[in-house]
């Protein structure tokens, strides 16, 4: 492969196919002329990451208020009301009353799924945090209210896990002694009656795509998942 800056940029950004990544890495070892460019670009990434890591520290209250209180589309709201009515209509004949009850109870808990930290970031509430801390997907627990999907390490060295709870699916990464929610998506789309049966099933595209964007390497296997739990999800 002929090395040029475009190829090397894609290499640095992890955008080449796995076989190409290996090939470029081997070529770089024998073509030291590119090492200065690589060092420069890695440094640039570090400088940018450091600069914008600091931006993240505190979300102003006015933005939190906008997300919590800004008016919703009346058309969307009407659609959702209709969908919720239809969902109740289908849940009962489907014998899913128990599932619906569990869903309500789960979110009725004072600190169930989500909560805000002091900086206005969404983190896992007590019950979700407990599940993320302790539950092993590899051990299997199909009756649990919240199901764990995959666990992995992200590019910044934090341990992350996907989860499904009720009609919500999400991705959380363990950071600063809390599970920071990276993305949250609804699993209940066209078929509200299927909202409870998706435990362990494919994640919504929003969650899947975020995993692909931040994962470093492969998801943990059973041994790595257990080891990460035993290290209290402390990452690298």
């Amino acid at each position: 492969m002929h090395l040029d800056k475009d190829i090397l940029n894609r290499f640095i950004d992890g955008e080449l196919a796995p076989a190409e990544m290996v090939q470029v890495a081997q070529q770089l070892a024998s073509e030291p002329g590119w090492s200065a460019y690589l060092r420069s670009q890695e440094k640039l990434k570090t400088v940018l990451a450091e600069r914008f890591r600091q931006v993240e520290t505190t979300v102003p209250q006015r933005l939190i208020d906008a997300a919590k209180k800004a008016p919703l589309s009346p058309w969307w709201t009407a659609q959702m009301r209709l969908r919720e009515i239809l969902a109740m209509r289908w849940l009962i004949p489907a014998g899913s009353l128990l599932a619906a009850s569990l869903f309500v109870l789960w979110f009725a808990a004072p600190s169930g799924l989500l909560m805000e930290d002091a900086s206005g970031h969404m983190i896992a509430g007590a019950r979700l945090a407990e599940t993320l801390n302790t539950q092993l997907a590899s051990a299997g627990n199909p009756s649990a209210t919240t199901q764990i999907g995959i666990s992995f390490r992200d590019r910044t060295g934090h341990d992350c896990r996907t989860f499904v709870s009720g009609s919500n699916a999400g991705l959380a990464c363990h950071q600063d002694d809390a599970w920071q929610i990276q993305v949250l998506a609804s699993t209940a789309r066209e078929d509200p009656g299927a909202a409870y049966q998706m435990a362990g099933a494919a994640m919504p595209p929003a969650v899947r795509d975020r995993v692909q964007a931040i994962i470093a390497g492969s998801p943990f296997d059973a041994a790595a998942e257990r080891a990460a739990r035993d290290r209290h999800w402390s990452g690298q």
Binding site: K5, E56, A66, A70, L72, E84, F107, H121, A185, A213
Partner: protein, 169 residues
């Protein structure tokens, strides 16, 4: 959270989760915390008001980024306030906890990065922000910007080159 999470609660929670990333993107685009936060507020209000245009199950972050980018291009309100607000002063950043000499050095570095970013053309800065700062895959960033992946790649390449030169890295 409320006792029972409704569809509205779920949507608002999804938006809340995306706020830190949306802020980074908006601040990178506008070059100042004040303008970036204005852009985020405008984006969030517009997104919720037009929620019927969002397809459930698709990526909330991409949708919000797209709205922010379009609002930035449409209005260019930030151009009226080009004087960069020192971000560490606005946010009480870690740099303020450092001793005087190190803090001054850190501030200079921050200003250098901000100033260098603002010298980039908008189309290069938005591509760079999505890929190098937000970590979006090239395909996703190209789709969000509505450009071919080759165009994105070359914009990122030019942006990298200019920034590396400006920052002396």
């Amino acid at each position: 959270m409320s006792a029972k999470m409704t569809s509205s609660d779920q949507i608002r929670a999804q938006v809340l989760v995306e706020l830190p990333r949306l802020r980074r993107f908006a601040i990178a685009l506008t070059g100042s915390v004040a303008d970036g936060d204005d852009l985020v507020q405008d984006t969030v209000e517009r997104a919720l008001r037009n929620l019927h245009r969002w397809e459930p199950g698709t990526q909330m972050d991409c949708w919000l980024f797209r709205i922010a980018r379009n609002r930035f291009i449409d209005g260019k309100r930030a151009a009226k306030r080009q004087n960069l607000v020192p971000m560490e002063a606005a946010e009480g950043l870690a740099a303020t906890a450092l001793d005087g000499a190190r803090a001054a050095e850190a501030r200079m570095e921050l200003h250098a990065v901000d100033a260098a970013l603002q010298t980039l053309p908008d189309e290069q800065r938005e591509a760079l922000a999505l890929v190098l700062i937000e970590g979006l895959p090239y395909r996703q960033a190209a789709d969000l910007l509505g450009i071919p992946i080759g165009t994105l790649t070359s914009r990122i390449g030019r942006a990298r080159q200019s920034l590396a030169l400006a920052l002396g890295v």
